[in-house]
């Protein structure tokens, strides 16, 4: 995304930093608009009869007619799209074909569950990655650093569902049973009342994003630790711990903000498989279910929701990068 940031920065120069932020947000909105077209086109505006594609060959004429009416398939494509988008923007996400209730009420609780899961995963993974990356940088080329390097390379390669299943095998079923292998969260109780059930899903997501943040944090800290002001702090006689955590760390974090935000955005996709593995009742598991059932309105709504989260976090990544990097900031003024 840095390409976008740099390009937008180049264009935004005359209007300074607020101009850049405004432009980046507008670009995000345009992206979201295009995303909505892709989702709509892929799910509903296919050549041929979308109703038959959804219901299959054995559908009765009656159910076909009902679905056509429900999706406005009897109207021109552009008309369908704009009425879908208009409804969407006013909070009407359509009517589930399977659950026979409005999509909004179907996914309300799932949104809350997933948001909490992502939040926890972020709160655990970001500090952990910053810590591991900093320590690896401090002990550069020593055993801990090598172990971290191999560990992050390995973990980064693993698909989330493999990590998740491995956690289930290790902690939930075969090897030991110290943690719940399935995240059963009753529909009427908030996810924070079931923290034990959340441990393994959070761990799976954490292991998916920690490697990337750790690597960039290590690289950034190595640069900072070799800088003049860190040398200066050491020469002043400050003990190494103060130098590392008080002087080096704040400067080392700045360049990683973008990678952190991008990885939090990555979580929006990561929850799809992880929630499915643990049966966690969030939008990811709901999405997989809707895809299996070909519940088009629910698929549209959830795809839009996940893509929107992803786009918003990407915008945030670019804005944060500009805000925290002095060089880019001054080039805007």
């Amino acid at each position: 995304m840095s390409a976008i940031a740099a390009r937008a920065a180049a264009v935004a120069r005359p209007r300074g930093i607020w101009g850049f932020i405004l432009r980046r947000i507008l670009l995000g909105l345009v992206t979201l608009f295009l995303v909505s077209i892709v989702i709509f086109a892929a799910t509903q505006a296919l050549p041929g009869d979308a109703a038959r594609a959804i219901l299959g060959r054995n559908a009765t004429p009656q159910s076909l007619a009902t679905l056509r009416k429900q999706l406005n398939l009897d109207r021109p494509v552009l008309d369908q799209y704009f009425s879908w988008l208009g409804n969407f923007l006013s909070g009407n996400l359509g009517h589930s074909l399977v659950a026979n209730e409005p999509v909004t009420s179907l996914i309300g609780k799932a949104v809350e569950n997933s948001a909490f899961l992502m939040l926890l995963a972020g709160l655990v993974s970001v500090p952990l990655a910053i810590l591991v990356g900093s320590v690896a940088a401090r002990r550069r080329d020593r055993a801990f650093d090598h172990a971290t390097s191999i560990g992050t390379l390995t973990l980064a390669a693993l698909p989330e569902f493999v990590t998740a299943i491995a956690l289930v095998v290790l902690f939930g079923t075969t090897v030991s049973r110290i943690l719940p292998a399935v995240s059963l969260i009753p529909p009427d109780s908030p996810p924070w009342d079931h923290l034990e059930e959340l441990i393994l899903p959070v761990a799976a997501l954490t292991l998916a994003v920690v490697p990337y943040i750790t690597r960039i944090m290590r690289a950034s800290m190595i640069e900072v630790l070799e800088s003049d002001y860190v040398e200066m702090a050491r020469l002043k006689g400050l003990d190494e711990r103060t130098v590392l955590w008080r002087h080096a760390l704040p400067n080392g974090i700045a360049p990683t903000i973008q990678v952190i935000a991008l990885n939090l955005a990555y979580l929006a996709g990561g929850i799809v498989v992880v929630e499915f593995v643990f049966g966690y009742p969030g939008i990811g598991a709901e999405f997989v279910g809707a895809v299996s059932n070909r519940d088009v309105p629910t698929v549209q709504a959830l795809a839009m929701l996940i893509a929107a989260t992803y786009v918003v976090l990407n915008v945030f990544a670019d804005v944060a990068t500009i805000l925290v990097s002095p060089r880019l900031r001054t080039s805007l003024q």
């Binding site: 840095s2 390409a3 976008i4 740099a6 390009r7 920065a9 180049a10 992206t31 979201l32 295009l34 995303v35 892709v38 989702i39 892929a42 799910t43 509903q44 296919l46 979308a50 594609a53 959804i54 390379l153 390995t154 980064a156 390669a157 693993l158 698909p159 989330e160 569902f161 493999v162 299943i165 491995a166 289930v168 095998v169 939930g172 079923t173 075969t174 049973r177 292998a181 955005a265 990555y266 929006a268 996709g269 990561g270 799809v272 498989v273 499915f276 999405f287 997989v288 809707a290 895809v291 299996s292 070909r294 088009v296 698929v299 795809a303 996940i306 893509a307 992803y310 786009v311 990407n314």
Partner: protein, 299 residues
């Protein structure tokens, strides 16, 4: 310039190496111990997947015992949720993932390279239009894009390949455009242009060889992702359909019996994990080798 500079990899391969940049890259990569480990692991797994069906003791769909039987005579690693031989299903189940992932990567790589090279060479509105389109595809998490496609058409293998290729395309396009943008400005390209060499030939024989190291690194990275994505989608039930033997599907079929008979899950999980680790080790070795070349040939 600022936009291109951010994604651009340093211009690869100086003049002496121009003849066989690929050979130089592979030789350097091979010197890295991690590349050797990666190659050994990948060769072992590809070998298992290819030879497996020939040496499997049972038909992968045959019922040989009670569901979730423990390892014993007749079924070395026990049976699965329906009483089929776990070992045989494992030996049969690698081909589909490998084949689909390789096909998706190849398609995505070809299309991505084409888009990237055209964008880099056109230096016009076409460049912008192509790269903005790539940005829109990148606005979806890969798995969501694949699932949206599956929701409408259903779980078809060709669709799986196309969907994964589609998520590969913009990432390859970006990286290859970034590398090619600097190459098209160089003298030998300008010279070929002046000589009236056709655009297709120019891109294929003058520009492409000069971005091979970037493309090779990207290819191994994309292959790792494709394996993970394809395996993940079959795990979710959108790949090979039962009763086919497929590593991703096996994991899903047998995970209810994890406490009773773990092999039906553990074996394919380990295989997929090793496969992705292996390809990413190769990718890392290639990346290190190519960084060395970019820096002017230092080790």
């Amino acid at each position: 310039m600022s936009g291109a500079a951010a994604t651009a990899v340093e211009a690869p391969v100086a003049a002496p190496a121009r003849h066989r940049p690929l050979v130089v890259l592979l030789r350097r990569a091979w010197r890295q111990p991690r590349t050797k480990v990666g190659v050994v692991v990948v060769v072992l797994l590809v070998g298992t997947a290819l030879i497996g069906p020939l040496v499997a003791p049972h038909d992968p769909a045959a019922f040989v015992g009670a569901p979730y039987s423990h390892p014993g005579s007749g079924h070395l690693l026990g049976t699965d949720n329906l009483g089929r031989d776990v070992l045989s299903r494992f030996l049969w189940g690698g081909l589909s993932i490998l084949g689909l992932a390789a096909a998706a990567t190849a398609i995505g790589l070809t299309l991505g390279l084409t888009v990237g090279l055209i964008a880099a060479y056109s230096r016009s509105w076409l460049d912008d239009a192509l790269m903005r389109t790539m940005d829109v595809i990148l606005a979806f998490p890969a798995i969501v894009l694949a699932l949206v496609a599956i929701a409408t058409v259903g779980p078809k293998l060709w669709l799986l390949v196309l969907a994964v290729a589609l998520t590969t395309l913009p990432r390859v396009a970006r990286v290859s455009r970034g590398a090619a943008v600097e190459v098209v400005e160089r003298d030998f390209v300008q010279a070929a242009e002046a000589l009236g060499v056709s655009r297709v030939r120019l891109l294929a024989s003058e520009v492409l060889p000069n971005i091979t190291s970037t493309v090779m690194v990207e290819a191994s990275l994309r292959l790792t992702y494709a394996v993970g994505l394809i395996a993940g989608l079959s795990f979710l039930g959108f790949g090979e359909q039962p009763p086919a033997a497929d590593w991703g599907l096996m994991i899903n079929e047998n995970r209810q019996g994890l406490t009773v008979q773990p092999w039906g899950v553990v074996l394919p999980v380990i295989a997929i994990a090793l496969l992705t680790i292996g390809t990413s080790l190769i990718g890392d070795g290639l990346a290190r080798a190519s960084a060395g070349i970019d820096r002017g040939g230092g080790e």
